[in-house]
Symmetry: D2
Subunit: 96 residues, 4 copies
Protein backbone atom coordinates (compact mmCIF):
# COMPACT_ATOMS: atom_id res chain seq x y z
CA UNK A 1 0.00 0.00 0.00
CA UNK A 2 1.38 3.37 -1.08
CA UNK A 3 0.56 6.48 0.95
CA UNK A 4 -1.57 8.98 -0.97
CA UNK A 5 -0.30 12.47 -1.74
CA UNK A 6 -2.02 15.47 -0.15
CA UNK A 7 -3.73 16.43 -3.45
CA UNK A 8 -5.01 12.84 -3.79
CA UNK A 9 -6.36 12.96 -0.22
CA UNK A 10 -7.98 16.37 -0.83
CA UNK A 11 -9.66 15.04 -3.98
CA UNK A 12 -10.99 12.00 -2.13
CA UNK A 13 -12.28 14.11 0.78
CA UNK A 14 -14.46 16.06 -1.67
CA UNK A 15 -16.65 12.92 -1.66
CA UNK A 16 -16.41 12.52 2.14
CA UNK A 17 -17.62 15.93 3.32
CA UNK A 18 -17.70 15.19 7.08
CA UNK A 19 -14.11 13.97 7.09
CA UNK A 20 -10.97 16.08 7.37
CA UNK A 21 -7.24 15.47 7.05
CA UNK A 22 -5.52 16.36 10.33
CA UNK A 23 -2.00 15.57 11.53
CA UNK A 24 -1.50 12.95 8.84
CA UNK A 25 -4.77 11.08 9.50
CA UNK A 26 -8.33 11.08 8.22
CA UNK A 27 -10.60 12.30 11.01
CA UNK A 28 -14.31 12.50 11.68
CA UNK A 29 -16.46 13.02 14.75
CA UNK A 30 -19.80 11.15 14.76
CA UNK A 31 -22.51 12.30 17.18
CA UNK A 32 -25.56 10.11 17.81
CA UNK A 33 -28.78 10.42 19.86
CA UNK A 34 -27.37 8.43 22.77
CA UNK A 35 -24.77 5.90 23.88
CA UNK A 36 -26.83 3.03 22.47
CA UNK A 37 -26.70 4.31 18.93
CA UNK A 38 -23.05 5.30 19.28
CA UNK A 39 -22.13 1.79 20.40
CA UNK A 40 -24.28 0.14 17.71
CA UNK A 41 -22.30 2.21 15.19
CA UNK A 42 -19.06 1.00 16.78
CA UNK A 43 -20.21 -2.63 16.61
CA UNK A 44 -20.95 -2.28 12.92
CA UNK A 45 -17.64 -0.45 12.44
CA UNK A 46 -15.77 -3.19 14.30
CA UNK A 47 -17.20 -5.81 11.90
CA UNK A 48 -16.22 -3.70 8.88
CA UNK A 49 -12.71 -3.15 10.24
CA UNK A 50 -12.09 -6.79 11.16
CA UNK A 51 -13.26 -8.00 7.73
CA UNK A 52 -10.89 -5.46 6.08
CA UNK A 53 -8.03 -6.37 8.45
CA UNK A 54 -7.69 -2.63 8.91
CA UNK A 55 -8.63 -1.03 12.22
CA UNK A 56 -9.47 2.50 13.29
CA UNK A 57 -8.16 4.55 16.16
CA UNK A 58 -11.34 5.65 17.88
CA UNK A 59 -12.48 7.35 21.06
CA UNK A 60 -15.96 7.20 22.55
CA UNK A 61 -17.70 9.03 25.32
CA UNK A 62 -21.47 8.78 25.61
CA UNK A 63 -23.00 9.71 22.21
CA UNK A 64 -19.76 10.86 20.57
CA UNK A 65 -17.34 8.72 18.53
CA UNK A 66 -14.14 10.28 17.20
CA UNK A 67 -12.36 8.28 14.48
CA UNK A 68 -8.84 8.62 13.07
CA UNK A 69 -7.65 6.55 10.11
CA UNK A 70 -4.08 5.98 8.97
CA UNK A 71 -2.12 3.03 7.60
CA UNK A 72 0.83 2.78 9.98
CA UNK A 73 2.66 0.23 7.79
CA UNK A 74 2.53 2.63 4.83
CA UNK A 75 3.42 5.72 6.84
CA UNK A 76 0.38 7.65 5.70
CA UNK A 77 -3.22 7.65 4.49
CA UNK A 78 -3.91 4.97 1.85
CA UNK A 79 -6.81 3.75 -0.28
CA UNK A 80 -7.60 1.38 2.60
CA UNK A 81 -8.28 4.33 4.90
CA UNK A 82 -10.56 5.89 2.30
CA UNK A 83 -12.42 2.57 1.92
CA UNK A 84 -12.89 2.34 5.70
CA UNK A 85 -14.02 6.01 5.88
CA UNK A 86 -16.61 5.34 3.16
CA UNK A 87 -17.90 2.18 4.84
CA UNK A 88 -18.18 3.86 8.26
CA UNK A 89 -20.06 6.76 6.65
CA UNK A 90 -22.81 4.56 5.15
CA UNK A 91 -26.06 4.85 7.10
CA UNK A 92 -27.51 1.79 8.84
CA UNK A 93 -30.24 0.10 6.80
CA UNK A 94 -33.77 0.17 8.17
CA UNK A 95 -35.17 -3.28 8.90
CA UNK A 96 -37.99 -4.83 6.93
CA UNK B 1 -45.63 -7.54 36.89
CA UNK B 2 -49.07 -8.77 35.87
CA UNK B 3 -49.54 -10.59 32.56
CA UNK B 4 -51.67 -8.68 30.08
CA UNK B 5 -54.95 -10.09 28.78
CA UNK B 6 -55.27 -11.00 25.10
CA UNK B 7 -57.46 -7.93 24.39
CA UNK B 8 -54.85 -5.71 26.10
CA UNK B 9 -52.10 -7.28 23.97
CA UNK B 10 -54.18 -6.87 20.79
CA UNK B 11 -54.77 -3.21 21.60
CA UNK B 12 -51.05 -2.62 22.20
CA UNK B 13 -50.06 -4.41 18.97
CA UNK B 14 -52.19 -1.93 17.00
CA UNK B 15 -49.32 0.51 17.70
CA UNK B 16 -46.64 -2.09 16.89
CA UNK B 17 -47.68 -3.18 13.40
CA UNK B 18 -44.71 -5.46 12.60
CA UNK B 19 -45.18 -7.46 15.81
CA UNK B 20 -47.51 -10.39 16.37
CA UNK B 21 -48.66 -12.44 19.35
CA UNK B 22 -47.73 -16.08 18.81
CA UNK B 23 -47.68 -18.98 21.26
CA UNK B 24 -47.89 -16.65 24.23
CA UNK B 25 -45.02 -14.35 23.15
CA UNK B 26 -44.60 -11.12 21.22
CA UNK B 27 -42.76 -11.91 17.99
CA UNK B 28 -41.11 -9.97 15.19
CA UNK B 29 -38.68 -10.81 12.42
CA UNK B 30 -36.23 -8.02 11.49
CA UNK B 31 -34.43 -8.25 8.13
CA UNK B 32 -31.47 -5.95 7.41
CA UNK B 33 -29.17 -5.31 4.42
CA UNK B 34 -26.44 -7.58 5.76
CA UNK B 35 -24.98 -9.25 8.84
CA UNK B 36 -23.25 -6.02 9.89
CA UNK B 37 -26.48 -4.11 10.24
CA UNK B 38 -28.22 -7.09 11.87
CA UNK B 39 -25.49 -7.34 14.49
CA UNK B 40 -25.39 -3.56 15.07
CA UNK B 41 -29.13 -3.82 15.78
CA UNK B 42 -28.45 -6.66 18.23
CA UNK B 43 -25.74 -4.63 19.99
CA UNK B 44 -28.15 -1.75 20.46
CA UNK B 45 -30.86 -4.19 21.55
CA UNK B 46 -28.49 -5.81 24.04
CA UNK B 47 -27.81 -2.41 25.65
CA UNK B 48 -31.55 -1.67 25.85
CA UNK B 49 -32.28 -5.09 27.35
CA UNK B 50 -29.49 -4.97 29.92
CA UNK B 51 -30.53 -1.50 31.08
CA UNK B 52 -34.15 -2.75 31.46
CA UNK B 53 -33.01 -5.95 33.21
CA UNK B 54 -35.31 -7.69 30.74
CA UNK B 55 -33.84 -9.81 27.95
CA UNK B 56 -35.18 -11.10 24.64
CA UNK B 57 -35.12 -14.57 23.19
CA UNK B 58 -33.57 -13.98 19.78
CA UNK B 59 -32.21 -15.93 16.85
CA UNK B 60 -29.87 -14.59 14.18
CA UNK B 61 -28.63 -15.91 10.89
CA UNK B 62 -26.93 -13.53 8.48
CA UNK B 63 -29.23 -10.51 7.95
CA UNK B 64 -32.24 -11.89 9.84
CA UNK B 65 -33.02 -11.43 13.55
CA UNK B 66 -36.09 -13.14 15.02
CA UNK B 67 -37.18 -11.83 18.43
CA UNK B 68 -39.59 -13.32 20.99
CA UNK B 69 -40.60 -11.42 24.13
CA UNK B 70 -42.26 -12.83 27.23
CA UNK B 71 -41.90 -12.27 30.98
CA UNK B 72 -41.24 -15.75 32.32
CA UNK B 73 -41.64 -14.67 35.97
CA UNK B 74 -45.13 -13.34 35.21
CA UNK B 75 -46.17 -16.28 33.03
CA UNK B 76 -47.12 -14.08 30.09
CA UNK B 77 -46.62 -10.88 28.13
CA UNK B 78 -46.33 -7.79 30.34
CA UNK B 79 -45.87 -4.04 29.96
CA UNK B 80 -42.13 -4.72 30.11
CA UNK B 81 -42.33 -6.77 26.91
CA UNK B 82 -44.25 -3.98 25.20
CA UNK B 83 -41.64 -1.46 26.34
CA UNK B 84 -38.83 -3.64 24.97
CA UNK B 85 -40.73 -4.17 21.67
CA UNK B 86 -41.16 -0.40 21.31
CA UNK B 87 -37.50 0.32 22.06
CA UNK B 88 -36.25 -2.36 19.61
CA UNK B 89 -38.56 -0.93 16.93
CA UNK B 90 -37.11 2.59 17.09
CA UNK B 91 -34.85 3.33 14.14
CA UNK B 92 -31.17 4.07 14.68
CA UNK B 93 -30.41 7.80 14.70
CA UNK B 94 -28.27 9.18 11.89
CA UNK B 95 -25.02 10.71 13.08
CA UNK B 96 -24.28 14.38 12.93
CA UNK C 1 -16.24 -26.28 -0.47
CA UNK C 2 -17.05 -29.99 -0.31
CA UNK C 3 -19.28 -31.32 2.47
CA UNK C 4 -17.47 -33.62 4.88
CA UNK C 5 -18.51 -37.26 5.32
CA UNK C 6 -19.94 -38.39 8.65
CA UNK C 7 -16.71 -40.24 9.57
CA UNK C 8 -14.70 -37.08 8.79
CA UNK C 9 -17.05 -35.04 10.98
CA UNK C 10 -16.84 -37.61 13.80
CA UNK C 11 -13.04 -37.53 13.64
CA UNK C 12 -13.01 -33.72 13.79
CA UNK C 13 -15.45 -33.64 16.72
CA UNK C 14 -13.00 -35.75 18.76
CA UNK C 15 -11.00 -32.50 19.05
CA UNK C 16 -14.12 -30.39 19.75
CA UNK C 17 -15.59 -32.24 22.73
CA UNK C 18 -18.42 -29.83 23.54
CA UNK C 19 -19.76 -29.92 19.98
CA UNK C 20 -22.12 -32.50 18.49
CA UNK C 21 -23.41 -33.31 15.01
CA UNK C 22 -27.21 -32.99 14.97
CA UNK C 23 -29.61 -32.86 12.04
CA UNK C 24 -26.83 -32.16 9.60
CA UNK C 25 -25.26 -29.28 11.57
CA UNK C 26 -22.51 -28.81 14.15
CA UNK C 27 -24.12 -27.75 17.41
CA UNK C 28 -22.99 -26.44 20.77
CA UNK C 29 -24.67 -24.72 23.67
CA UNK C 30 -22.53 -22.15 25.54
CA UNK C 31 -23.62 -21.07 29.03
CA UNK C 32 -22.01 -18.04 30.67
CA UNK C 33 -22.27 -16.29 34.06
CA UNK C 34 -24.71 -13.69 32.79
CA UNK C 35 -26.06 -11.89 29.72
CA UNK C 36 -23.05 -9.59 29.63
CA UNK C 37 -20.58 -12.39 29.12
CA UNK C 38 -22.92 -14.17 26.68
CA UNK C 39 -23.18 -11.04 24.55
CA UNK C 40 -19.43 -10.32 24.74
CA UNK C 41 -18.94 -13.85 23.38
CA UNK C 42 -21.41 -13.10 20.58
CA UNK C 43 -19.59 -9.85 19.73
CA UNK C 44 -16.31 -11.71 19.43
CA UNK C 45 -18.03 -14.46 17.45
CA UNK C 46 -19.60 -11.89 15.12
CA UNK C 47 -16.14 -10.46 14.34
CA UNK C 48 -14.76 -13.95 13.67
CA UNK C 49 -17.71 -14.84 11.43
CA UNK C 50 -17.63 -11.60 9.44
CA UNK C 51 -13.88 -11.92 8.81
CA UNK C 52 -14.44 -15.54 7.60
CA UNK C 53 -17.45 -14.51 5.48
CA UNK C 54 -19.16 -17.47 7.15
CA UNK C 55 -21.94 -16.87 9.67
CA UNK C 56 -23.51 -18.98 12.40
CA UNK C 57 -27.14 -19.67 13.13
CA UNK C 58 -27.40 -18.76 16.79
CA UNK C 59 -30.00 -18.26 19.48
CA UNK C 60 -29.55 -16.33 22.71
CA UNK C 61 -31.58 -15.95 25.83
CA UNK C 62 -29.96 -14.45 28.92
CA UNK C 63 -26.72 -16.37 29.64
CA UNK C 64 -27.24 -19.11 27.03
CA UNK C 65 -26.04 -19.08 23.42
CA UNK C 66 -26.95 -22.01 21.14
CA UNK C 67 -24.92 -22.24 17.92
CA UNK C 68 -25.53 -24.28 14.76
CA UNK C 69 -23.00 -24.39 11.93
CA UNK C 70 -23.56 -25.61 8.38
CA UNK C 71 -22.46 -24.45 4.92
CA UNK C 72 -25.73 -24.01 3.06
CA UNK C 73 -24.01 -23.55 -0.32
CA UNK C 74 -22.23 -26.89 0.08
CA UNK C 75 -25.27 -28.74 1.44
CA UNK C 76 -23.48 -29.93 4.56
CA UNK C 77 -20.79 -29.40 7.17
CA UNK C 78 -17.47 -28.27 5.67
CA UNK C 79 -13.96 -27.38 6.86
CA UNK C 80 -15.22 -23.81 7.20
CA UNK C 81 -17.72 -24.90 9.87
CA UNK C 82 -14.97 -26.72 11.74
CA UNK C 83 -12.76 -23.62 11.57
CA UNK C 84 -15.58 -21.47 12.94
CA UNK C 85 -16.33 -24.02 15.69
CA UNK C 86 -12.66 -23.99 16.72
CA UNK C 87 -12.46 -20.20 16.73
CA UNK C 88 -15.67 -19.83 18.78
CA UNK C 89 -14.34 -22.39 21.29
CA UNK C 90 -11.14 -20.48 22.03
CA UNK C 91 -11.29 -18.77 25.42
CA UNK C 92 -11.10 -14.96 25.65
CA UNK C 93 -7.60 -13.73 26.48
CA UNK C 94 -7.08 -12.03 29.81
CA UNK C 95 -5.95 -8.42 29.51
CA UNK C 96 -2.53 -7.24 30.50
CA UNK D 1 -22.79 11.83 44.22
CA UNK D 2 -19.94 13.42 46.15
CA UNK D 3 -16.43 13.44 44.68
CA UNK D 4 -13.96 11.34 46.68
CA UNK D 5 -10.90 12.89 48.30
CA UNK D 6 -7.44 11.93 47.06
CA UNK D 7 -6.76 9.75 50.16
CA UNK D 8 -10.09 7.96 49.56
CA UNK D 9 -9.15 7.37 45.93
CA UNK D 10 -5.68 6.13 46.90
CA UNK D 11 -7.20 3.70 49.40
CA UNK D 12 -9.64 2.36 46.79
CA UNK D 13 -6.87 1.96 44.19
CA UNK D 14 -5.01 -0.36 46.56
CA UNK D 15 -7.68 -2.91 45.57
CA UNK D 16 -7.48 -1.98 41.87
CA UNK D 17 -3.77 -2.46 41.18
CA UNK D 18 -3.83 -1.90 37.40
CA UNK D 19 -5.63 1.43 37.74
CA UNK D 20 -4.08 4.81 38.43
CA UNK D 21 -5.35 8.29 39.25
CA UNK D 22 -4.23 10.73 36.54
CA UNK D 23 -5.38 14.27 35.82
CA UNK D 24 -8.46 13.87 37.98
CA UNK D 25 -9.62 10.57 36.42
CA UNK D 26 -9.23 6.86 37.08
CA UNK D 27 -7.21 5.36 34.23
CA UNK D 28 -6.26 1.93 33.01
CA UNK D 29 -4.88 0.52 29.78
CA UNK D 30 -6.11 -2.98 28.85
CA UNK D 31 -4.14 -4.98 26.26
CA UNK D 32 -5.65 -8.11 24.73
CA UNK D 33 -4.47 -10.79 22.27
CA UNK D 34 -6.15 -9.14 19.32
CA UNK D 35 -8.87 -6.73 18.19
CA UNK D 36 -11.55 -9.39 18.63
CA UNK D 37 -10.91 -9.79 22.32
CA UNK D 38 -10.51 -6.03 22.78
CA UNK D 39 -13.89 -5.40 21.18
CA UNK D 40 -15.58 -8.24 23.09
CA UNK D 41 -14.32 -6.53 26.26
CA UNK D 42 -15.76 -3.23 25.04
CA UNK D 43 -19.14 -4.87 24.30
CA UNK D 44 -19.29 -6.25 27.81
CA UNK D 45 -18.15 -2.90 29.19
CA UNK D 46 -20.82 -1.09 27.17
CA UNK D 47 -23.52 -3.30 28.73
CA UNK D 48 -22.14 -2.65 32.22
CA UNK D 49 -21.98 1.10 31.62
CA UNK D 50 -25.46 1.38 30.10
CA UNK D 51 -27.01 -0.57 32.99
CA UNK D 52 -25.22 1.75 35.47
CA UNK D 53 -26.20 4.87 33.49
CA UNK D 54 -22.53 5.80 33.84
CA UNK D 55 -20.28 5.73 30.78
CA UNK D 56 -16.52 5.60 30.30
CA UNK D 57 -14.28 7.72 28.14
CA UNK D 58 -12.37 5.10 26.16
CA UNK D 59 -10.00 4.85 23.25
CA UNK D 60 -9.30 1.74 21.19
CA UNK D 61 -6.77 0.85 18.57
CA UNK D 62 -6.33 -2.80 17.62
CA UNK D 63 -5.74 -4.82 20.84
CA UNK D 64 -5.44 -1.85 23.19
CA UNK D 65 -8.27 -0.19 25.14
CA UNK D 66 -7.51 2.88 27.27
CA UNK D 67 -10.21 3.81 29.80
CA UNK D 68 -10.72 7.01 31.81
CA UNK D 69 -13.42 7.29 34.47
CA UNK D 70 -14.77 10.45 36.07
CA UNK D 71 -18.20 11.70 37.13
CA UNK D 72 -18.53 15.00 35.27
CA UNK D 73 -21.69 15.99 37.20
CA UNK D 74 -19.84 15.61 40.49
CA UNK D 75 -16.65 17.28 39.31
CA UNK D 76 -14.46 14.35 40.29
CA UNK D 77 -14.05 10.63 40.86
CA UNK D 78 -16.98 9.09 42.77
CA UNK D 79 -18.03 5.69 44.10
CA UNK D 80 -19.71 5.17 40.72
CA UNK D 81 -16.35 5.35 38.96
CA UNK D 82 -14.88 2.84 41.39
CA UNK D 83 -17.85 0.52 40.80
CA UNK D 84 -17.36 0.77 37.03
CA UNK D 85 -13.58 0.21 37.38
CA UNK D 86 -14.25 -2.93 39.45
CA UNK D 87 -16.82 -4.28 36.99
CA UNK D 88 -14.57 -3.66 33.96
CA UNK D 89 -11.70 -5.41 35.77
CA UNK D 90 -13.63 -8.66 36.33
CA UNK D 91 -12.47 -11.40 33.96
CA UNK D 92 -14.92 -12.89 31.44
CA UNK D 93 -16.44 -16.15 32.64
CA UNK D 94 -15.53 -19.32 30.74
CA UNK D 95 -18.55 -20.98 29.13
CA UNK D 96 -19.91 -24.30 30.25
Amino acid sequence: MEPLSEPQIAAALAELPMWSYENGKLHRTFRFRDFRDAFAFMSRGALIAEAMHHHPEWFNVYHTVKVWLVTHDAGGVTEQDLALARALSEPMSLPR
